[in-house]
């Protein structure tokens, strides 16, 4: 009897630990949103990706449709090569869609935003997006603003 009770209590303890881990994985962390179902890969080259990171969201019209899988420097063009994984749910993206890097809020995380094009051909696995727009680097903007202001003051 005593031993059975101990076994039951220890079992409860272990199960409580596993439930807590499940809670951490499903409710607290991004485990379930990290899985992109049945993905296909699309790449794009950017002049400057700012602070875009691997696993950043890819969205179209504000809806998340995939994730950034890999970022590397293309040594021929000296551009950043960004490989994106797009969910298999969204197969009908026009081939002339354009990609730009935007920021959530003023100083938030950066993400890739896709703008649909007009063609009737759709993107397939391994395609490359031709039209890209680099990240807006806030420091450069401020620099330009200061520069134009000082020039305006001279005139």
């Amino acid at each position: 009897m005593q031993r059975q009770l101990i076994e039951v209590i220890v079992g409860l303890f272990v199960i409580a630990g596993v439930v807590a881990l499940l809670f951490l994985s499903l409710k607290v962390s991004n485990l379930n949103s990290a899985i992109v179902t049945d993905p296909y890969q699309v790449s794009a080259r950017f002049d400057n990706i700012g602070s875009l990171k691997v696993r950043a969201p890819v969205s179209m019209a504000g809806v998340k449709i995939g994730r950034v899988k890999e970022i590397k420097l293309d040594s021929d063009s000296y551009q950043a090569q960004v490989v994106m994984e797009i969910s298999g749910e969204y197969t009908k993206l026009p081939v002339d869609s354009s990609a730009s890097i935007n920021t959530q809020g003023l100083l938030g995380e950066q993400f890739v935003s896709l703008e649909p094009g007009g063609q009737q051909k759709f993107l397939i696995n391994g395609d490359r997006l031709r039209l890209t727009q680099s990240a807006v680097v806030l420091e450069n903007l401020i620099g330009q603003l200061l520069f134009s202001n000082s020039q305006g003051a001279k005139e």
Partner: protein, 258 residues
């Protein structure tokens, strides 16, 4: 001058010797693993005494830590209008650092000290020697179940600490301070990465579990068999395992989160 050098040298030598004996003890214990698995009810009993009985202090402490994090975080974040990040702040601090570290410290105080005192007293009253006389190796009969129970318990306790702490932060942040419930959870899910944060926290707590349990068991087994020896060993267990947890936490953090 010479005596100062000599005492420093003697101290470092004894520290090295104790570390070596602890490693030998660990290897010897692991060799008796098959025997201990056959008598798994010994492990169950220790899991109950070491793990389950530590649960109340873990849960109460986690609740308070989560609530205090939410309160302090809210007071700071609200100045920047960033109280929507409260959930993220609470969850990241708990999964990465506070969960494993505080669970380890509480475990060292609550269970590690008890393990040392128990084993030390068994040695002082010659129960361990008596077992050896009966051809029962105290390594697998006494030491290994306690060591394994600690190694299994600490990660479970750390995960529970983290989960309860986040719930405590939620309780205070959403119900008392009025942060929006949906924002609280979604900011958390955006920022907390399963592999990077949750799994690394779990790995940390596993390392802490091995270290604390080894220190506790070794200190008891290595204690000089006198009342003063047992009391010194118990103190050393708490002091050393706390220091080791904190130092190890720093080195693990600097390796994991670059």
């Amino acid at each position: 001058m010479i005596s100062l050098l000599r005492s420093t040298g003697a101290l470092s030598l004894s520290v090295f010797a104790a570390t070596g004996r602890a490693c030998i003890l660990l290897i010897q214990m692991l060799f008796t693993l098959p025997l201990a698995i056959r008598r798994y009810e010994l492990l169950l009993e220790q899991l109950y005494r070491v793990g389950v009985l530590t649960l109340p202090i873990i849960i109460v402490a986690a609740l308070f830590v989560g609530m205090v994090l939410a309160l302090q975080g809210y007071n700071t974040l609200v100045d920047f209008g960033a109280e929507s990040s409260l959930g993220l702040l609470v969850a990241l601090s708990l999964t990465r650092e506070l969960g494993p570290v505080l669970a380890g410290l509480l475990f060292a105080g609550r269970a590690g000290a008890a393990l040392t005192a128990e084993i030390g007293l068994m040695k002082a009253t010659e129960q361990l020697a008596g077992m050896e006389m009966m051809a029962v190796d105290p390594l697998w009969r006494v030491l290994l179940p306690r060591f394994l129970a600690g190694v299994i318990s600490v990660p479970l306790l750390a995960v529970l600490f983290t989960a309860v702490g986040i719930l405590g932060g939620y309780l205070l942040g959403v119900d008392v301070l009025g942060v929006d419930q949906g924002v609280f959870w979604s900011a958390m899910q955006q920022g907390v990465d399963f592999h990077q944060d949750v799994m690394n926290g779990l790995l940390k707590s596993l390392v802490f579990g091995v270290l604390i349990s080894l220190i506790a068991v070794f200190m008891g087994y290595d204690a000089s068999p006198t009342p003063a020896g047992v009391s010194t060993a118990t103190t050393l267990t708490v002091v050393l395992s706390s220091l080791v947890v904190l130092a190890m936490d720093f080195s693990l953090t600097s390796m994991m989160f670059q």
